[in-house]
Amino acid sequence: MKEKAKILDQEGINRAITRVAHEIIEKNKGTAELCVIGIRNRGVHIALRLAECIKKIEGSEIATGALDITLYRDDLALASGQPLVRKTEIDFDINNKNVVLVDDVLYTGRTIRAALDALIDFGRPKSIQLAVLVDRGHRELPIRADFVGKNIPTSKKESVEVHLQESDGSDEVLIAEKE
C-alpha cells in the first residue's frame, strides 16, 4: 500500500463530525426519539463522537449502540478469509425510533445493506438514516447517505483508510494506492 494523500487531518475530522451532528439535529428537529448506532469497528467510534457532539449542542443524551454485521454479510459463503464475529450491543428498544446508522466509509453499499437487515431484526424503527465520515463512490446497490462528512472521488484501485484515535492512535483519512 502506497500512501498518496492525506484528505482529512484531526481538525478536518472534528469539523466534519460537528457539521454532521448539526445536520442530524436539524433534519430530525431535535433529539426526541433519536439514537445513533455505529457499525463495527470504526463506525462505533464515530457514532459515539456524534452522540457527544449532539449532547454538547442540544444538551440531551441520546442512546448509542454497536452493530456487528458479519453474520449478515452477502459474501460469507465465499472464500474470503475468515471474518471475526464481534458483539452487537443495542441495549434499547429501536421500535419507533429515528435511527442514525453510522459508518466510516461508504463504498459498495453492501455493508449498509447487511446493517439494514440486521437492524430490522431488532425492531421497526420509525426511520433509518445513514451518516458516513467518507463517501468514496462506486456503489453496487441503490443506497445513499443522508449525512456525509466528506465526499472523496476515488478510483477502485485506491483504498481509503480512516484512522481514529480510539482504534489507531491518530485521527486522519488517507488515500493509498493498492500495489
Partner: protein
Amino acid sequence: MSWTKKDLLGLEYLTQEEIELILDTTESFKEVSTREIKKVPALRGKTAVNLFYEPSTRTRVSFEVAAKRLSADVINIATETSSVRKGETLIDTGKNIQALKADIIIMRHNCSGAANMLARTLEISVVNAGDGWHEHPTQALLDIFTLREKLGKIKGLNIAIVGDIAHSRVARSNIWGLTKLGANVTVCAPEILLPVGIEKTGVKVTSNIDEALENADAVNVLRMQFERDEGAAFPEQLDYYQRFGITEERLAKAKKNIIVMHPGPINRGVEMSSEVADGSNSVILEQVTNGIAVRMAVLFLVSQAKDAKQ
C-alpha cells in the same frame, strides 16, 4: 487468529488460541438469543444433520436450536429407526449424508474415536457431540465459557471435577481445555472410577471430596451414569452420596462463592442435594443457555473453514 479446521473433534486437538477464539466468538453469539427475533442468516442454505447413535435430548436439542438460530436447516436422524438398524456401517451412513449435500454432521456415538474416523473419511464438517469415553468438546467449551463469564478468566483458577472420571468424556474434554488455558484441575472420584495414569494429564487426584473442594473456585459435578451400571464397578447410590455428594454442609467448608456446575441431567440426592442444585452457587441452567451460544459459534466456525477450503 482465524479458524481453519473443518471439524470439531475434541479439545485435545486445539491450541489455546483456538479455544479462546471459540470462547470469544461465543460471546458475540450469546446476544442473538436475547433478541426478539432470535435468528441470524449466517448459515442460510446450509444443512446440518444430527446423527445420534446414543439417546440424548439436551445436547441434540441444543445443537438443533443453535443451528436453527443460524438459519441452517436441521435434519434429525435417530439411528433406532434408520437403516443403521439394517446393518449399514457408520462410514456408509456418513457418505450417504454427504451425498445428500448436507454440510455438517453433528454426531453422538458410543465408540471412542467414531467422530475422528468419520471426519477423516468425509469432506463435509463433523462436529463431535460425544464419542464413547473420549471427548464431548462442546460440553467442556460451554463449561469453560460459563466459568470465564462468571470469574473473568481461566488461568490460575482451581477447578474440581467430581464423579465418574473413568467413563466420562465430559471430564476428559474439560481436563484438556482447562489445563491448556492454565487452570489447576483436581479430579475426585472413588478409587475404582479413577482411570490409571490420569495424573499424567497434569491434574491432581484425590478420593476425598473435602480435599477436592478446599480452595476450589468451581466444582464441576459429573453425572453418575447408573443406567450403564454393569454391576461390580459402581458404588451404591446412597453410599456415593454420603462420600461424594455435594451438600450444603460440604459447600459451607469451601470458598464462599464457589461455582457449582453440572452437565445434566442431575440425579438429585446422588451427585448433589436439591438445595445445592437450586442454590445460589449453582449455574446449571446458565450452562444450558450458554450451550446454545457455544454451539452456534462452533457451527459457524467449522462451516466458514470448510467454505474457505473450497
